[in-house]
């Protein structure tokens, strides 16, 4: 493969090529396909991470890529998140486009120096002379019985850092499109992949396309209330909306897709239309993503359209418990979302 032919154009298509075949893929397969396309199109792209080679990754996302692209481009790194992330940031600084996989997003705590103090800062501290086009992938969230140190939703931490972009795809289509957009992006992009979504299936076009970073999706238009969700909370919010429709409540569900930068326009337009807002997120409720969305709306021109208090449905203020029942109770479930929306729409809050 010649390097000149393989480099992707700067303005990548945001929609699949007309006539592209659409198949049902799992979320994990869609990510693997995106990484394969990136590896094929751009010789600067390399994959790094613990056990992503022959083992295929902790959640089998990289799968057989080491056999297709070789160990020089699909690299196992030692069991040191700080070291691996540091190598990836350095490689990005010196011209590569690394995609670095964490086994669990919880282990980002070990690599915060490289992410927060180096990757996010260097463009600014060096007067724009460099950029750090690294992509980091974080299997995140609860629901797998992996307890307190392997189940957190820490995306809000990264959303607090200028210099980082943070995305949280909810569908196989967006997982592929956002990963390819992240690879093209000149700055560090953090991708939070919910572990419960890896096996969910959905339509994914063949070939190269991107989903723009910073654009939310209205995945169910509605009249009575705006429900803002991300990651696995999106299918739960959609299930809740279906139940609510039977009660005559028409909920609009917005998939944030990007946590930083937030899509202000879509959120404000929706709340101005529906007059009510429920924010759903798996992270701990206090100081979480939904807190930011609530504040954004309260500060915006949509404020004068609010006809009910804003309600947040977030994670409990506890480390994720090991007991499966307690684990479920610690994060929003479909019934919690439906109940909150009912209370807001019926004027019970």
């Amino acid at each position: 493969m010649s390097a000149a032919a393989a480099v992707a154009p700067a303005t990548a298509s945001t929609t699949p090529i007309t006539g592209a075949v659409v198949r049902d893929l799992s979320y994990a397969e869609a990510i693997r396909e995106a990484m394969a396309i990136a590896l094929e199109r751009d010789p600067r792209v390399v994959l790094m991470g613990e056990d992503i080679g022959v083992y295929g990754g902790a959640f089998q996302v990289t799968g057989d890529l080491v056999h297709r692209f070789g160990p020089d481009r699909v690299m196992d790194t030692p069991i040191s998140e700080l070291g691996g992330a540091g190598v990836a940031v350095g490689a990005a600084l010196t011209g590569l486009r690394p995609i670095f996989e964490f086994q669990f997003s919880d282990f980002a705590t070990l690599a915060m120096e490289q992410i927060v103090n180096q990757a996010a800062k260097l463009r600014f501290m060096l007067g724009g002379a460099v950029s750090v086009p690294v992509v980091m992938r974080f299997p995140a969230g609860s629901g797998t019985g992996a307890a307190a140190q392997h189940s957190q939703s820490l995306e809000a931490w990264f959303g607090h850092v200028p210099g980082l972009k943070v995305v949280q795809p909810a569908t196989p289509h967006d997982a592929k499109g956002l990963l390819l957009a992240a690879v093209h992006d000149p700055d560090p992009v953090m991708i939070f992949e919910h572990k419960l979504l890896y096996k969910t299936k959905g339509p994914v076009p063949e070939g190269h396309y991107t989903v723009p970073i910073g654009e939310a999706a209205v995945c169910r238009p509605g009249r009575d209330v705006t429900v803002v969700a991300s990651a696995v909370m999106v299918p739960r919010a959609l299930d809740a909306a279906t139940q609510l429709a039977a009660d005559g409540i028409d909920a609009e569900v917005i998939d944030l897709r990007t946590i930083r930068p937030l899509d202000r326009e879509t959120l404000i337009a929706s709340v101005a239309k529906t007059t009510r807002l429920v924010c759903v997120y798996e992270g701990v409720k206090t100081l979480g993503v939904g807190a930011e969305v609530s504040a954004l709306i309260a500060e915006s021109e949509a404020f004068d359209y609010l006809d009910a208090p804003i309600v947040r449905v977030g994670g409990a203020e506890v480390p994720i418990p090991y007991s499966p029942e307690l684990e479920k109770a610690a994060v929003p479930q479909t019934a919690d979302i439906a109940a909150a929306v009912r209370r807001v729409v019926r004027g019970a809050v």
Binding site: T275, F303, D304, Y305, L306, D307, A308, G347, A348, V349
Partner: protein
């Protein structure tokens, strides 16, 4: 400038009874204001000496604006303070802020007799009485439409006003101006081919009490609300007995020229509706009696006399709350709106006289049980089982052809507490009447 009428935005002083430097006692007349209804004296709220008369006779003054200041004995008379530029119902400053703002010291007493102290709320943050709890959307809508939020009854938790409450309030606001029908005033709204609906409010209320039901009534029926004598906008009349009162209502009914009408009456208005049905049965399409008076001597005299006497929100609130099963429904904002409607002392005097005559010794002194036995039009009798004013068991005097609707967890004012149920039951009678008319026409 006190607000003595629900629709009043400014008041005109026709003459001053005092001059600069006059010493007054609380209760002495200060000036006369003119409203649509009558000229009335405004009394001094405090002892002292009148100074700084801002509002000359013949000028219009916004509600809530000071028109003069009363100084207590020994207080130094300073330069004339600026009148509050806002037209709000009561001064916004708190005691202690006045001196700092260069206005007179705390010892001044504003002539506004309605200044309410903030009342504690059962839970949550207290909403200042002049700033009712309302959603941003409701506030924006009220701003755009020039609606005073203090007059709106909120349907949300702790009386919060939402968009729908403001929208519902607009319906009565677009009604035609009140008209005189013989001795009494009536308010018409809506219209259409349907048989009109006539609403008779209860003792110490007025036409506004129907505000929650009217928007829920079926379309196509004109709605006519009558103000009883000495209530709402109707002038006080000399009434020596229930019979006198009923005669006035019948006279107004005749003068209004109804062909056929559905009659709905509550409490005293229910008794009057029954009396009307007794003498004008052919012109009634149906009768809906809501906790009507006259079906037994028992009653809560304290509540009705308390309502009639109350001269301020604090003394009105406990009696208003006794009228309903859920006292939370009667928010501070509701109490203040009700008190504004009763600010006219002559209205209160007239109602007290009426109570002395009709409910002497805390007893219902008139008996309409015979009239109920004779009732010949389709009739529904509604009563809240939690009614603390008239015992609901008085409903059991009804003859078999009267439909009884006994409502759990509802007090004396179902049209306030469960307007949807009341509207649906009135709609049932309207539907029945229409079906009978259609059958007759087909035959």
């Amino acid at each position: 400038m006190p607000k003595v009428d629900m629709d009043m935005a400014t008041g005109r002083i026709t003459s001053w009874s005092v001059a600069e430097g006059t010493r007054v006692k609380a209760g002495d007349p200060l000036f006369v204001i003119e409203t649509d209804k009558a000229a009335m004296d405004v009394d001094s709220p405090a002892d002292g000496v009148v100074h700084h008369i801002h509002a000359e006779a013949g000028t219009d003054v916004p509600i809530g604006q000071p028109v003069a200041w009363i100084y207590v004995d020994g207080e130094t008379v300073g330069p004339p303070p600026n009148p509050s530029p806002s037209g709000r119902g009561w001064p916004r400053e708190r005691p202690g802020e006045r001196g700092a703002a260069g206005a007179p010291s705390e010892q001044h007493t504003s002539l506004n007799t309605l200044t309410p102290p903030p009342l504690p709320e059962a839970e949550g943050l207290a909403a200042p009485a002049d700033r009712p709890r309302a959603t941003p959307h409701a506030r924006r809508l009220a701003r755009e439409r020039g609606v005073d939020l203090r007059l709106i009854l909120g349907s949300g938790p702790r009386g919060r006003i939402a968009r729908a409450d403001v929208e519902a309030y607009q319906t009565p606001a677009v009604t035609a101006a009140p008209e005189m029908a013989g001795p009494l005033v009536l308010h018409r709204s809506g219209g259409g081919p349907g048989t009109p609906v006539l609403l008779l409010h209860g003792f110490a209320a007025d036409s506004h009490v129907w505000a929650r039901v009217v928007p829920l009534l079926p379309c196509g029926h004109a709605v006519i609300k009558l103000d009883l004598p000495g209530h709402g906008r109707s002038p006080a009349r000399s009434v020596g007995s229930f019979r006198d009162l009923a005669r006035l209502v019948v006279a107004a009914f005749d003068r209004a020229g109804f062909d056929r009408v559905h009659v709905v009456g509550h409490s005293l208005g229910g008794g009057l509706a029954l009396a009307l049905a007794d003498v004008r049965a052919r012109r009634l399409a149906s009768l809906t009696l809501i906790a009507p008076a006259g079906l037994g001597p028992e009653m809560d005299g304290d509540a009705l006399f308390g309502l009639a006497r109350a001269s301020r929100a604090e003394s009105l609130a406990p009696w208003l709350r006794r009228l309903v099963a859920d006292p939370g429904l009667v928010t501070d904002g509701f109490v203040h709106a009700a008190m504004l409607a009763r600010a006219d002392p002559s209205l209160r005097t007239a109602q007290q006289a009426l109570a002395d005559c009709l409910f002497a010794d805390g007893v219902q002194c008139f008996d309409l049980q015979a009239a109920l036995q004779r009732v010949a039009v389709p009739t529904k009798l509604l009563w809240g089982r939690a009614d603390r004013v008239f015992p609901w068991r008085q409903a059991l005097h009804a003859p078999g052809r009267v439909a009884l609707h006994l409502l759990d967890d509802i007090g004396h004012v179902p049209h306030l507490e469960a307007p949807d149920i009341v509207a649906a039951l009135i709609a049932d009678l309207a539907t029945l009447d229409q079906a009978r008319a259609d059958t007759k026409r087909a035959a």
